[in-house]
Symmetry: C2
Subunit: 386 residues, 2 copies
C-alpha cells in the first residue's frame, strides 16, 4: 500500500511539474465570457478564448471552496475568497474543447455550481461547462428545420413498469405520412441516462444540421436508459447484459416499430453507444445480428477478428463497424493493451482487410468526453443506411 502511495505521489509531482512547465509562460487572456451552459442570467462560470475556466461561488461564511474541474491529478481548482465574499478561481491550464462535468466542494460538502445547468452523469445531476470548440458549428442551434425529441413511456413487462425513452424524429417526419425511416438505438455511458445524448450530446441538433445540409439519409434515434448505473467502477466484468437486452430488444424495439413509422427490418436498424454503452452495444448486437446491421462503439471498445470469427454470419450481416476514440484516450493507451481486447486501430484495420466495412475515427485533442462522442455521432450518421 505504502509503495502504491509513493508511486502515485511521484506520478502526481511529475504531472504537476509538467503542467506548470506548460502553463508558467502562458499569459491568460482576459476575454472571459459566460459559459453557454449557464442558467439564464448567470455570469459565472466563464470561459476565455484559450479554454481556461473561471468560477465564482457565493458562500461568504465558508472556510474552503474548491471546484472539481482542473488539471488531472491536482484535485481540481481551489477558489479564493474575494473582497465581496464570493469565492473565485481560474483553472491552472486550458481545458479540452467541449463539454465537462464538474461539481463544487464547499467546506467538504459536494454541491452543484448554482450558475450552471445540470447534466446527468456519475449517477447524479452534475454541473456542466462548455469550452467552445473550433468546430462547434456542426452541433449549433441554427435557423434550419428542426426535428423533435419525443419523450415516450413504453410498457416493460420484464421490469414491471413504464420506462422512459426519447425519440428523435427528423423535421419532415410529420409531413409525409407514407414515409418510413431507419432507426438508430443510441446509448449513453456509465453514470448517465437517457437524457445525455440530447442534453450533453446535442444529438438532435447534429441531426437537424446534417439533414439540412443533405449529408445524411434521415433516420430516427431512440435513446433509453441502459441500466448501467447499478454497478460501480470495477464491477464491469460481472455486468449482466441480459436485463437491458430484454428491455431493448424484446420490449422497446417492438414498441418503436409499432408506434413510429419505421423501416423495421435488419438492414435499417443500427445500434451505437459511448463508453459502457459501447460495451452494451457490442454485447447486444453480437447476440442479435438478425436485428442490427450497423454498429458504432464510441470510446467503448472495438471488434477483433476473434469477435468476427466467433460470431456466425458476422461478415454477411454487418454492414458497418464504426469504432472511435478521443485522441487523448489513444495517447493514454499507448503501449498498453486495454480492457477491450487489443489495440482498437489494429483491430479496425484487421476487419477492413477481411472485407468488412470497418471505420476507425479519432476525435482530435479530446479525451473520454462528450465532444469526442458528438463528433463520433456526426461522422457515424453520415455512414449509416447507405
Amino acid at each position: 500500500m505504502k509503495r502504491h502511495i509513493t508511486v502515485l505521489a511521484v506520478f502526481l509531482l511529475t504531472l504537476v511539474s509538467l503542467c506548470l512547465a506548460q502553463t508558467d509562460e502562458t499569459t491568460i487572456n482576459e476575454d472571459f465570457k459566460p459559459s453557454t451552459l449557464n442558467q439564464s442570467g448567470q455570469e459565472y462560470p466563464q470561459v476565455n478564448s484559450q479554454g481556461y475556466a473561471r468560477f465564482r461561488i457565493v458562500a461568504p461564511q465558508a472556510q474552503s471552496v474548491r471546484v472539481s474541474l482542473g488539471l488531472g491529478g491536482r484535485g481540481g481548482t481551489a477558489l479564493t475568497k474575494s473582497e465581496d465574499g464570493a469565492w473565485m478561481g481560474t483553472t491552472e491550464g486550458p481545458l479540452d474543447e467541449g463539454f465537462h462535468y464538474y461539481h463544487v466542494y464547499v467546506d467538504s460538502g459536494m454541491f452543484n455550481d448554482p450558475g450552471t445547468l445540470n447534466f446527468y452523469g456519475s449517477t447524479r445531476w452534475e454541473s456542466g461547462i462548455e469550452i467552445p470548440a473550433h468546430d462547434r458549428d456542426f452541433y449549433a442551434l441554427k435557423d434550419v428545420p428542426h426535428g423533435r425529441v419525443q419523450q415516450i413511456l413504453f410498457p416493460s413487462k420484464s421490469t414491471d413498469t413504464s420506462r422512459r425513452a426519447f425519440v428523435y424524429t427528423p423535421p419532415d417526419y410529420d409531413k409525409d405520412q407514407s414515409k418510413r425511416y431507419p432507426v438508430l438505438y443510441l446509448q449513453h455511458g456509465w453514470g448517465e441516462d437517457e437524457t445525455a445524448w440530447s442534453n450533453q450530446g446535442h444529438a438532435n441538433l447534429i441531426m437537424d444540421n446534417l439533414i439540412a445540409e443533405g449529408k445524411i439519409r434521415p433516420f430516427l434515434i431512440v435513446m433509453t436508459y441502459g441500466m448501467t448505473n447499478e454497478i460501480r467502477f470495477g464491477g464491469l466484468r460481472n455486468f449482466d447484459i441480459k436485463p437491458f437486452q430484454t428491455v431493448l430488444v424484446d420490449e422497446l424495439v417492438p414498441y418503436i416499430d409499432a408506434n413510429f413509422r419505421t423501416l423495421s427490418d435488419q438492414p435499417h436498424r443500427a445500434m451505437a453507444g459511448l463508453s459502457m454503452g459501447g460495451m452494451e452495444t457490442k454485447m447486444i448486437t453480437l447476440a442479435n445480428l438478425d436485428k442490427f446491421s450497423h454498429i458504432g462503439l464510441f470510446s467503448g471498445g472495438s471488434f477483433s477478428m476473434d469477435d468476427v470469427d466467433k460470431t456466425p454470419g458476422f461478415k454477411e450481416k454487418v454492414k458497418l463497424v464504426f469504432v472511435s476514440f478521443g485522441s487523448r484516450e489513444l495517447e493514454n493507451r499507448r503501449g498498453r493493451r486495454g480492457p477491450f481486447g487489443g489495440d482498437p486501430k489494429e483491430n479496425a484495420e484487421a476487419l477492413k482487410q477481411a472485407g468488412i466495412n470497418s471505420v476507425f475515427y479519432v476525435s482530435p485533442n479530446t479525451a473520454h468526453e462528450f465532444l469526442s462522442w458528438r463528433r463520433s455521432l456526426y461522422d457515424f450518421a453520415q455512414k449509416l443506411f447507405k
Copy 2:
C-alpha cells in the same frame, strides 16, 4: 425603518408562538421515507405520513446549514451536525400536500440539495420535494396507454431565434392519422419555464389517466416559455404582454396548426395559465377572442363583469371561464381586495348570473403551489371542448 423592523419582529414572534402552540403537542411519526422526487439511490430528503420533511446534507466542515423550506416567516429549517458529519433536521410542522421548491444555505451560500431532482422555479433550477397527497392517484404513473411529450423548436421571427415548446400528444395520436384534436395552450408562472407543467405539474400523466378513464375528450397541450422572468416582483404592473403575445398568437399557434393534426378553429382552442401565466392568459385571450374559446386562470386572477362588459363579443365567444385557487390563498385574501380586481368567487358568480359558463374551483388545503394547479388542470380538462 426602525418601526418597520419592530412591527416585523412582533409579527414573527406571534407567528412563532402560534406555530409552537400547534406543534408542541404533536408526536412526529418515525415512518420517514425518501421523497419520490429524490435522485436515483438517494435516501434524503425524507417525508413522513404526517407531511413532515427531514433533510440530510453532507458538509463536514461547514459552520451552519439551513434549508429554506419550513414554517413561513421562520427562516426555514436549521440543520444540526450529526456525529457522522452530516447535517440533519426536520421541519417544525407538516408541510402542505404536494410539491415544494426549496434550496439549502451552506455557510450563507445558496445551493441545491444534492439528494433531489431539480425543477425550474424562481428563475433557477431548484430542489424539489413531494409530500404525498391523499388524492395523488390522478397524477400517478399507471399502467395505461401513455401519450408523448414532444420537444419542438419553432421559428420565431419576432425574437430572431428558434424557441422551445413541449407538446403533449394523447396516446392515440399516432394511431389514426385522419383524426384531429383540440389544443390547450398552458402557461407556467413567474420564475418558471416551459418545463414546469410536465416536471412539477405531471400534466402528461394527468391527461393519460383522464383519457384512460374516458373522462375527457383527448386534446393536445402546448407549453412554451411565457417570457415572464425578465421582470422581478413588483414589476408586474409594468409588464408588457406584447412580446409574448406575438410569439404565442402569431408564431406558435400557426406553427402548431401547420405541424400537428389540430382542429384549428376558435371553438377548439383553449388557453390557461397559473399565477402570472393566468394574468398572461387573461390579457391574451381578451385581446384574441376570435382565437380562444375556453379560458382557465389558476391562482392567477379572475374575470369581472367589468372585463366582460368592456370586451365586445365576450358572451358569445367564450364557452368556458374557469377560475381556481388553493384554499389557503383565499384564506389569506379574506377581507382584502387583491390585485386581480375584486373577490374571485363573487366575480365567478356574477359571470354565472350573466349566463356565462363560469366555474370556480377551490383546491382543498393547498396554497400558491403546484398541487393546486395539478388539481385545477384535472378539473379544467374535464370541462373542455364539450
